[in-house]
């Protein structure tokens, strides 16, 4: 697809955390591009930098973390160069971010309706109290919260986990953002609620023509709702593909390992195949390809040179020396 359709493009992003133990190189040269209208899945194991990458987009890296270099281009504007006040206007209005633990994302001291109204008030001036309140009620309805008129006046502790999550989603979509980043939106709720939440998200995506980035480690979820997938490992993206080809024929050894570690319904298989080893220490990452100590196919070059993300076939990118063009 052509570049014109890109809504978000991350170029060569490096994020380091300056801790007492040393510099944690959490994000190490991420390149990523999200197309307008698609659902992009960002997968990887815990601690691989998915969330940090997404926070870097919104410039919400908590100290001691710092964006060392890179560019985050949203609708043609480099977000990393914007003044703070401009950035604030983008957060919530153009790019909405659903934090990792939505059940804790509501301030216990205010009613849930107030917190949704706060998003609107943060971005719009001269709006009447009444009209904001009506919008909040209709937002509650659009995320399928029953009895919305009564619920807006209730406090977060009066909501169940799934309902709180919907309130958070209502916050996120209240300004009709172009890009919605959902950071593991379904990890803290059970499967039935997960299904409902996903339904709400997909519905909203269709009706509001949003682009969505779904950060998760749940490959089942990815298979269900994503159009394209980026696989992250130890701070960089190792494979990008559309969802069908990724599951049919994974290219990167890490992706293959991930897929082999999922139980399969139709395949008779007694043992799952884990990926050997553990995630590398990000203070002293292995030289070259960060996956090489765990990789079956590692050769000499893997230890010396970090592979670049390259397009192997149309729409499929992989960062691995196995797929060198020559």
């Amino acid at each position: 697809m052509s570049r014109r359709d890109e809504i978000l493009r991350i170029e060569d992003l490096y994020v380091h955390f300056y801790t007492y133990a040393g510099v944690v190189k959490a994000i190490d040269g991420v390149n990523m591009s999200v197309l307008r209208g698609e659902t992009y899945g960002l997968v990887g194991e815990t601690g691989c930098g998915k969330s940090v990458t997404m926070r870097a987009v919104l410039r919400l890296i908590p100290p001691p973390g710092r964006i060392v270099k890179g560019r985050v281009i949203f609708n043609g504007v480099n977000l990393l160069e914007l003044p703070e006040e401009e950035m604030r206007k983008i957060r919530g209005a153009k790019i909405a971010y659903i934090v990792q633990d939505p059940t804790a994302a509501l301030d216990p001291l205010y009613t849930s309706g107030f917190q949704v109204a706060e998003t609107i008030l943060a971005h719009e001036e001269n709006v009447g109290k009444k009209s904001v309140w009506e919008r909040v009620v209709s937002l509650f309805k659009s995320v399928l919260i029953p009895d919305a008129e009564r619920r807006v006046k209730q406090y977060p502790h009066e909501f169940s986990g799934g309902m709180r999550q919907r309130v958070v989603i209502a916050c996120a979509i209240s300004e009709k953002p172009e890009l919605l980043i959902a950071d593991e939106p379904t990890t803290s709720v059970d499967v039935t609620v997960q299904a409902q939440i996903l339904e709400v998200l997909e519905d909203l995506k269709k009706t509001q023509e949003m682009t969505m980035i779904l950060v998760t480690h749940n490959l089942g979820l990815v298979a269900q709702i994503c159009d394209r997938v980026g696989v992250m490992y130890a701070g960089s993206i190792v494979e990008v593909s559309d969802v069908f080809r990724l599951f049919e024929e994974p290219l990167h050894p890490y992706t293959r390992g991930l897929l082999n570690a999922i139980p399969h319904v139709t395949r008779t298989q007694f043992r799952l195949e884990p990926i050997p080893g553990t995630i590398p220490d990000l203070i002293n990452p292995p030289p070259g390809c960060r996956f090489h100590p765990r990789c079956k196919h590692a050769t000499g070059i893997c230890k010396r040179e970090k592979p670049k993300l390259r397009e192997i076939e149309p729409g499929r990118f992989v960062a691995c020396h196995l797929y060198r063009g020559d």
Binding site: L60, G92, L109, T119, A122, V168, C171
Partner: protein, 340 residues
């Protein structure tokens, strides 16, 4: 009794035409009222907190209505005099000399005795409550807001701002409060006004430290991050989402500090840097009485006891509030008393 009071209040507001408004307001703040009621109930279960609250209330009442109470007693005295029940005409006045016998013992007419000029000590101690009240209210209300503000900014922004504010605060905290207050009061010239200024200057740093520490943990809350992610401004996050969540330790410390201010103010006057004679300030009266400690011990002991009881009251109340303002501890009180 309580229902009757509530009904009466409603009636009154109805007659004034505010009834509906008041009830609407109450409905909206339902959760807040319930919370207050819970706190009140928990507070009532702790005898120490109750005693502290009573002492604090007495201090406030005496401080605010001291002159009226004196006038009332004087009215009674003149009535008794006109009826011929008491022989001399007595007026209790903190400044009037030779109102009674010099260094007179406590008696029915002069309950706390008299000082070396024959001034009535009851009137002086009662008026002293107002001086202490004014000093503590002014110091607390002027000293805390800048402390909270600097603490919020320091904890929320961190980095160089934090470093700067905290180092300045450290400089202030490096001196014991009394020593610093003495130095400032002495350089401003002795007097009640310089004592107030000195105490205010000494007061804010401890709040900076307290608030900063609380902000550091409160800003890690997911809802703070969520608020930033939806584009809420830093100022609004600080005021609306962080401050209300950390205010209870500030309230507790402020309550405890009420007592501390009274003590420090008395100390400043005692060493001659605070209120000057003839202002009836407790610390000053204690000092004046020292010369006559053997002959007239009540002269020093009674104002000293007033300082002690005030400080004790606010400390007990502060401790009680600490337990009550923390919902977790409050639950355990409710649970322990078995009247959940």
């Amino acid at each position: 009794m309580k229902e009757k009071l509530a009904r009466g209040l409603n009636r009154m507001l109805d007659l004034m035409g505010y009834g509906e408004k008041w009830r609407e307001w109450k409905r909206k703040r339902r959760a807040m009222f319930e919370e207050w009621e819970l706190m009140y109930k928990a507070l009532k279960r702790s005898p120490l907190a109750k005693a502290g609250a009573a002492m604090a209330v007495v201090f406030f009442i005496l401080g605010i209505f001291g002159p009226q109470i004196l006038a009332l007693i004087n009215g009674l005295y003149s009535l008794l005099y006109s009826q011929g029940i008491i022989k001399q005409k007595i007026v209790l006045d903190p400044y009037k000399i030779f109102a009674g016998p010099r260094l007179g013992k406590p008696s029915l007419l002069h309950p706390f005795g008299c000082d070396e000029y024959g001034r009535d000590l009851f009137a002086r101690v009662l008026t002293g409550a107002r001086v202490s009240l004014i000093v503590s209210v002014v110091v607390i209300s002027l000293g805390i807001p800048p402390g909270i503000l600097l603490g919020l900014v320091s904890g929320y922004y961190g980095g160089k701002v934090d470093e700067f504010i905290m180092r300045v605060t450290d400089v202030f905290l490096a001196f014991p409060a009394l020593v610093l207050a003495m130095a400032i009061a002495a350089s401003l010239g002795a007097g009640l006004k310089s004592a107030i200024i000195a105490l205010t200057i000494v007061w804010w740093p401890s709040y900076v430290r307290l608030v900063r520490g609380q902000v550091l943990s409160a800003r890690e809350n997911v809802y703070v991050e969520a608020a930033r992610a939806i584009g809420v401004s830093n100022l609004r996050i600080m005021v609306k989402h962080i401050l209300p969540n950390i205010i209870s330790p500030v309230i507790v410390l402020a309550t405890l500090d009420f007592g501390t201010v009274v003590i420090l103010n008395a100390a400043l006057s005692f060493i001659g840097l605070g209120a000057q004679p003839p202002t009836p300030e407790w610390g000053r009266i204690v000092y004046d009485g020292l010369d006559y400690l053997m002959m007239a011990p009540w002269y020093s002991i009674i104002p000293g006891t007033a300082v002690f009881l005030t400080a004790l009251g606010f400390n007990l109340l502060g401790d009680g509030l600490r337990d009550v303002l923390d919902p977790r501890i409050r639950r355990s009180i409710e649970f322990a008393s078995g009247r959940e």
